[in-house]
Amino acid sequence: MNQFSRTLLGVLAAGVLLPAGAVDRPAVGVAFDLNVPRWQGQFGARRDELQAKVAAQVAAWMSQQMGFADFDAGSAGPQRLVLHLDVAPDAGAHQFKETQLRLELADVAAAAPLVWRFRSDERYAEPTGGVDAFAQEVALRLVDVDKQALVRQVLSKVPIASEAALWKDPVGWVIPFRKTDLCMDFKSMLRIENMLPSGAGPVLKEFLARASGDFAPREAAHAPSALRGRLFTEPVPAQDGLADLGRARPELVAVRAVYVTEYLPLQPCSKPVPPERVDFRGAPR
């Protein structure tokens, strides 16, 4: 197959698969679960208020740090991220117990829980300071989460898209976001699930791919304008099934889901400042 026809097939596939307008980032609901009996007792009827407040703070922090999803404490989407505040499992009957934070996606099996210390046993008996103060204390501990593991162990289970366009020259995928949509820099890693044709019918093949550029093919006239500027990702070399992908006719390959496995934030994200964040009152300077 010559280069032109390969490109054309890629375009055909892309034209079918990707919408012209903006695609929403996945919505992830956020919840907080206060699971330390001593503090549950202290907050009593205000426990729900505390949990809602912390959830909102966690959602705001996650949105700031992880631009590839839309975190919202009130979201009822299919994905729900839960931050638990637990007593450490080895605290036993000891009077002063270490407490820990544990982050997980509800109803999704993770490789391992993402856990980090909240208060040491020495500071267990310190007062909480009330709803606002305790919510602040939890929020301040977010800075010590292992962000690499947060993506690899937890957020990599959240699909960011259920479509992408296969491109054949070079082999790669155009995903339905620009890098500023996700605040995602090149070299971020994605996992892409494809249904590939085979002698036994379509089979599932997963590939790891690195974001490597803004899609801007030389033969621009043959590429739909909706694709231009979207993130182009290229498969990591030497993966099982890569040769099959290279041989497959693009229109027969269906991308099922796209996940982020390694996130490099784009700094600055370079989105224009919206009007609600400016103020023109005051003396001109």
Binding site: P89, D90, V115, D121, E122, R141, R152, P268, P284
Partner: protein, 714 residues
């Protein structure tokens, strides 16, 4: 309008310039423009671009004759530019025309607001979209010059432009300017790390920078180290970096199943470390890691981290085994003390011993005869000298606390010179004091003080017991544990009465006054005029100790918040201002409860002030500030590192201005609003307030931090 430079204003005394400004600020047109901007965005979201434009055109027509026409016009034009820019992203085929339209709108804003930073930044993005990089660079340079809120965003944007153009050094210098403007922001370091990804041959430079950011931005540093390990071409730099990185992830507790993912595991140092983490209950085959105590000490940090991993914590015997394996290959204390390479090494052996001791104390069945614990205590004593030698105050305090609590739990208050609870707790408290003296946040240590007071009592030292109960009471008040404070005061009183050590009666009385006042305040039992009662004179007197200042801040803040909730805005503002004054004079806040007080009191103390986009209070893990910002230590029980509340310089000015305005009878009701931006103070007076305007000039000309003062009437 004219503006007074403060030095000149000071010299000129009552000289002032009143700007004849027709603005009736806060009037309706601006709010209508803001609503229109919001509605237009909603229309655009629905794909109704033409309707969105029409709604903004209609809003623009309403600005024409309004009193706040200029600000209204600017907001509408800005919104038009923003929406056109957004539309261009959605419709790439129409982008050139849409971006040209956005440029016109932003240029129109800048004609009236030449120093509006957000407009300049948005315009730069328009130019980037049009491929006019030189024009983008020019407006970003302007934006950097007017970055009043010191966000560093314009510099970041310019750095990215240079990066995209392949101008590494220019990008780096600009990112560094962004970092200097906003030292608590992780975005500039992140951008620098991403920049170095394009130059793996310069990894040594990056490594040097990363070391300085470890305490503040550990996640960014993690990314940077991983980048060097994955891509650096210089073998020596990689070898040094693997030590830095392993030490970082171990100390942060970031050791788990995905720790080594994405790293080149065909490289022996990483392969061996990964193998060890996968099987931490077996002593590692040393390989590269065996060469020298530094490498072994770093690898032993991994042992500590794996012992604290969730699967180990669920099975204490497993955690113990992991710690013991770490102790086996960790260098001995003598290496930390006498080997020059180990001079600045993290005290891994001490931490392993400390963790083991804590585990055994928690799990008595692992050490039924306490033989291991005794051995470890001896070991800790032998090595504690290392922490002292390196003057690592945080480590010193940790060890004294661990040992103090261990002895206290066993009731071992005396014996030997240092092998007892009294000695260790005294030193834990003393070292915490040294840390506070060198600028770290004040730690109340109320539990340690209470424990120590009890120890003094047990060994028959009533004078020390009484004094320590008073210290504990003060610390309990710091942590808002008023009932516990009253209990500690009761103990101090009891001991004084029984043994005739009445020397601290004045302290006892004043602490009791504070405690009862706070108790009544919390229960809402104080009469409205309580602050004027003779017993509460301490609220008005200049406090001589930081502890007294902290109490004054808490009481006045709580009072202001109670008045706010009780719909008494004047009284709330007055007490909030007084609380803010108290805050300016103290060094540390205690607990996030104080942080919440500060965050809630500040808007009351600065009511009627425009402070721009950036939040008035930020929490940072470094005390470094820029441009008049004020850092106060912040003790947070859960924090693993010192924290600081950083109050923006403009908010401090606004608070001081508010206090002076409230204190002046002549100014009462005459100041409509103030605006502070990078130290430039605008005071908007009511129309016809001639005498009050003179008074404002006299009263406000020397507010600390103010760079210029403009009085605007109308």
């Amino acid at each position: 309008m004219s503006r007074l430079a403060t030095p000149w204003a000071r010299a000129a005394g009552a000289l002032y310039m009143v700007a004849a400004c027709t603005a009736a600020l806060g009037s309706d047109a601006y709010d209508v423009a803001r609503d229109a901007a919001r509605a237009a965005q909603a229309l655009q979201d629905q794909g109704r671009w033409t309707d969105a434009q029409a709604s903004l055109d209609a809003a623009a027509a309403r600005c024409g004759s309004a009193p706040d026409a200029r600000s209204c016009r600017s907001l509408v034009r800005y919104s038009q530019g923003y929406l056109a820019q957004r539309e261009a992203r959605l419709h790439p085929d129409d982008a050139p025309a849409l971006l040209a339209s956005a440029e016109d709108r932003y240029r129109a804003v800048l004609a009236e607001e030449p120093a509006h930073e957000a407009t300049l930044r948005n315009l730069a993005l328009v130019y980037v979209g049009l491929g006019r990089d030189e024009a983008a660079e020019a407006v970003l340079r302007q934006a950097m010059a007017v970055d009043a809120a010191r966000t560093g965003r314009a510099a970041l944007q310019l750095g990215q432009l240079y990066r995209d153009e392949g101008k590494f050094d220019a990008a780096l210098a600009t990112y560094q300017q962004a970092a200097a403007a906003a030292p608590a922001d992780s975005a500039p370091p992140q951008a620098i790390v991403a920049l170095y990804a394009t130059a793996p041959e310069r990894a040594a430079e990056l490594r040097a920078m990363l070391a300085g950011w470890e305490a503040t931005f550990p996640a960014v540093v993690d990314t940077g180290y991983r980048q060097i390990l994955a891509r650096a071409t210089d073998a020596q730099v990689r070898e040094r970096t693997v030590l830095d990185w392993v030490s970082l992830v171990a100390r942060q507790g970031w050791v788990g199943p995905t720790t080594f993912a994405g790293l080149p595991l065909d490289w022996p140092p990483l392969a061996d470390a990964a193998r060890y983490v996968a099987n931490p209950e077996t002593p590692p085959a040393y390989g590269w890691w065996a060469a020298g105590p530094v490498r072994r000490s770093v690898l032993a940090q991994l042992a500590l981290a794996t012992a604290q991993a969730p699967e180990a914590r669920a099975t204490p015997a497993r955690a113990l085994r992991r710690l013991q394996v770490g102790m086996q290959f960790c260098p001995g204390y003598e290496a930390y003390q006498y080997d020059l390479q180990m001079k600045d090494a993290w005290p891994t052996r001490l931490e392993l011993a400390r963790a083991t001791l804590a585990l055994l104390a928690r799990e008595p069945e692992l050490d039924p005869k306490q033989a291991q614990q005794r051995w470890l205590v001896d070991e800790l004593f032998f090595g504690k000298a290392g922490a002292y030698q390196s003057r690592d105050l945080a480590a010193m305090q940790r060890f004294h606390t661990t040992l103090g609590r261990w002895y206290a739990e066993r009731g071992e208050w005396t014996g030997g010179s240092s092998t007892n609870g009294i000695f260790q707790l005294e030193h834990a408290i003393a070292v915490a004091g040294q840390r506070a003296a060198r600028g770290e946040p004040w730690q109340p240590l109320q539990q340690e003080k209470q424990l120590l007071a009890g120890g003094y009592e047990k060994i028959g030292k009533p004078a020390q017991a009484r004094a320590m109960y008073l210290d504990a009471a003060s610390a309990f008040l710091d942590t808002d544990q008023v009932d516990e404070a009253l209990d500690a005061l009761g103990n101090a009183d009891r001991i004084g009465g029984a043994t005739g050590y009445p020397s601290d009666q004045a302290t006892l009385r004043s602490l009791r006054q504070v405690a009862t006042t706070r108790q009544a305040l919390a229960a809402d039992r104080l009469p409205p005029d309580f602050a004027d009662a003779p017993a509460q004179r301490w609220l008005a007197l200049p406090a001589t100790t930081d502890a007294a200042r902290r109490q004054r801040f808490k009481v006045l803040a709580d009072l202001a918040l109670r008045e706010r909730d009780g719909q008494q805005p004047q009284a709330a503002a007055t007490h909030a201002g007084a609380a803010f004054d108290a805050l300016l004079s103290l060094k540390s806040l205690v607990g996030t409860a104080d942080l919440v007080r500060l965050e809630q009191v500040l808007p009351l103390a600065t009511a009627g002030a425009d402070l721009g986009e950036r939040g008035a209070v930020q929490v940072a893990s470094l005390a470094a500030t820029t441009g008049g910002d004020l850092a106060r230590g912040l003790y947070v029980p859960a924090a693993g590192r010192p924290m600081y509340a950083v109050i923006r310089g403009d908010a401090v000015i606004a608070g001081r201005v508010g206090a002076r305005v409230r204190a002046s009878a002549a100014l009462a009701g005459q100041v409509r609003r103030i605006s502070v931006e990078a130290g430039h103070l605008d005071v908007f007076m009511r129309e016809g307030s001639g005498d009050a305007t003179k008074e404002a000039a006299r009263t406000l000309q020397d507010v600390p931090g103010v760079r210029s003062l403009a009085l605007i009437s109308g």
